[in-house]
């Protein structure tokens, strides 16, 4: 009898902090890394008499997220109180949206790994259930005998993006989070830095025998702190559940915690009583009405999404997939590329300079925080375009261009200026090159003999000598022609 095959079904709840200047229901500043409890006011601390007032920008950003993910935007949404006692929320309820969220449905386009890194992988659209807006809670730090609470994060606008159970592998989960993050960063919603808590993720994982329609017992996974952590935690949990079932055991609906260092999940202390949040409409807040004109105005602000841009770059500029994959997740880099292309004739070469040389220089100019931001670099699209053009015109060889790239990057000097100052202009002076080539042929009788004896590669030694004599400035194509001409005599 063959063994039963199991398949995993995963749904994700992703929380994303919307980047606003002030908090969701009060105008005290929102931020990260400030001294503890300084981003607080009577509303954040739930002091008696304090009243919430909505943040218009947070609502606009939520509508924008809904539009870019193809959701239906609710014409009316309202605010509900989710009641619970926990020190992360001093007023003992969190303002959220229960039965009338701001966005319904929608989908996230994902790309799975291709056969090789040079080939685009298969794409699929993952269905969303809903997106609602709520306020974030304070942050607890646990110590040996007690816990400390910092309310700086409390009250920050927080979007909860809930997917359908429509993901079927850890790789799909990884692709989903990557794509979602890229889209949200593109649209200026959030930096989605998981390490700063700007994006957080819980996963609902279950397995079922292949062919079974009903979902298996669901386990909620928490403490998934990085995109790779989500993938690893989900992968472990699928294996754990599958082995329990294979061994004839049964699964419990529970919440488990991912331990990234030891790489396993453990059941969290089961709650004494099932949660009863007693949601009810918040009497302090009026509903939001959203009309067509408002939606259309926001729709116009939505930038081209990463996958759409990638398809366009491949089609419009003939870029290979391998150039677009490092380029397209980064909107700023894409804008840089298109500004470069507007000034030069060869989009493929421009893309090569950007994804290889520019990214390398940014990375080595960076620090422990990451690569240098493109905006801080002295190199502009005009620099890259000039370099492409100088090679294209035959003014410098591509080797010289490679050599001066770091200096252009470091100083912000235009490539043509560096070429002039250093006398690096490629020699295409036939007379001068003929003299040098003849000299090299006289000096290298061995290589000449080998070449004449049929060893084609021997010409490279001669070319090398010519390049050396001209300090790399000889036009290599011309050198090849002249050498062959002289050797055939």
């Amino acid at each position: 009898m063959s063994e039963i095959q199991y398949e995993a079904v995963i749904g994700l709840e992703v929380h994303v902090q919307a980047e606003t200047r002030s908090k969701m229901f009060t105008r005290v500043a929102r931020g990260f890394g400030e001294p503890p409890n300084t981003l607080t006011d009577p509303v954040v601390l739930g002091l008696p008499g304090a009243l919430p007032v909505m943040n218009l920008e947070a609502i606009e950003k939520s509508i924008k997220v809904g539009l870019l993910l193809g959701c239906e935007i609710a014409r009316v949404c309202k605010w509900d109180r989710k009641n619970y006692f926990y020190p992360d929320m001093p007023k003992n309820y969190q303002i959220s949206q229960y039965d009338q969220p701001i966005c319904l449905g929608g989908e996230v386009e994902i790309e799975l790994e291709g056969e090789t890194r040079a080939v685009m992988g298969p794409h699929r659209k993952v269905k969303l259930t809903r997106i609602h807006l709520e306020e974030d809670v304070g942050k607890l730090t646990h110590y040996e005998n007690d816990s400390l609470v910092d309310y700086n994060r409390a009250g920050s606008p927080l979007l909860e993006i809930v997917s359908e159970p429509d993901l079927f592998s850890p790789d799909e989960v990884f692709a989903y989070l990557t794509s979602l993050r890229n889209s949200l960063v593109y649209a200026g919603i959030s930096d989605c830095d998981m390490e700063k808590g700007q994006m957080r993720c819980d996963a609902n994982v279950s397995v079922r025998p292949v062919g079974q329609k009903e979902l298996g017992t669901k386990v909620e996974l928490k403490n998934l702190n990085t995109i790779s952590g989500v993938r690893n935690g989900v992968e472990y949990e699928i294996q754990r559940q599958t082995s329990v079932l294979r061994e004839g055991g049964s699964l419990t609906q529970e919440t488990r915690r991912w331990n990234p260092d030891q790489r396993y999940t453990t059941a969290m202390r089961s709650k004494e009583m099932a949660h009863d949040y007693r949601y009810f409409p918040d009497p302090d807040l009026m509903p939001v009405k959203i009309d067509d004109a408002w939606i259309e105005r926001i729709r116009e602000e939505i930038p081209e999404m990463p996958f759409d841009k990638q398809r366009r770059f491949i089609e419009q500029y003939g870029l290979p997939y391998s150039s677009t994959s490092p380029l397209c997740p980064d909107k700023e880099l894409c804008d840089f590329f298109e500004a470069t292309v507007a000034r030069c004739k060869d989009p493929k070469k421009a893309a090569n300079w950007i994804v290889n040389d520019l990214l390398r220089e940014l990375s080595s100019a960076g620090d422990e925080e990451g690569p240098m931001p493109l905006g801080n670099a002295k190199m502009t699209p005009a620099h890259v375009a000039e370099l492409v053009n100088l090679v294209e015109e035959g003014s410098i060889s591509s080797n010289i261009a490679k050599e001066i790239f770091p200096e252009t990057f470091a100083t912000g000097k235009m490539p043509a200026q560096i070429v002039d100052e250093k006398g690096l202009k490629q020699t295409s002076d036939t007379g001068e090159l003929e003299t040098i080539c003849s000299q090299v042929i006289t000096d290298q009788p061995k290589a000449v003999e080998e070449f004449k004896g049929g060893k084609e590669n021997a010409i490279n030694a001669l070319k090398g000598q010519v390049m050396k004599a001209t300090r790399g400035q000889a036009n290599p194509k011309l050198v090849d022609e002249i050498l062959r001409e002289l050797l055939s005599q």
């Binding site: 300084t38 007690d146 816990s147 009497p283 009026m286 939001v288």
Partner: protein, 97 residues
Amino acid sequence: MKEPQTMDVEYAANLARIDLTVEEKKKFNGQLGDILQYFEKLKAVDVEGVEPMAHAFPRHNVWDEDESRAGFSAEEALSNAPAKRKDQVVVPKVIEE
């Protein structure tokens, strides 16, 4: 007349983190039962075709522009805290989630 409504006072008290004595439980059970009965009266009203609403006034879209202002100092923020350390509120260690 319907049977008097009862509610699980113990459950509600637990959710609200309130300790009640046996006498209080009995007392509130009666009082809350009376309130629930009043809701039965309200339920008798025919609301067919009336849209549910959370507010008595038809106001909507009450918001502020996203401009930030300074908040409390840590000292002010913690002035009601029974215990504090490192500019944060000290609470009993409760790891729930």
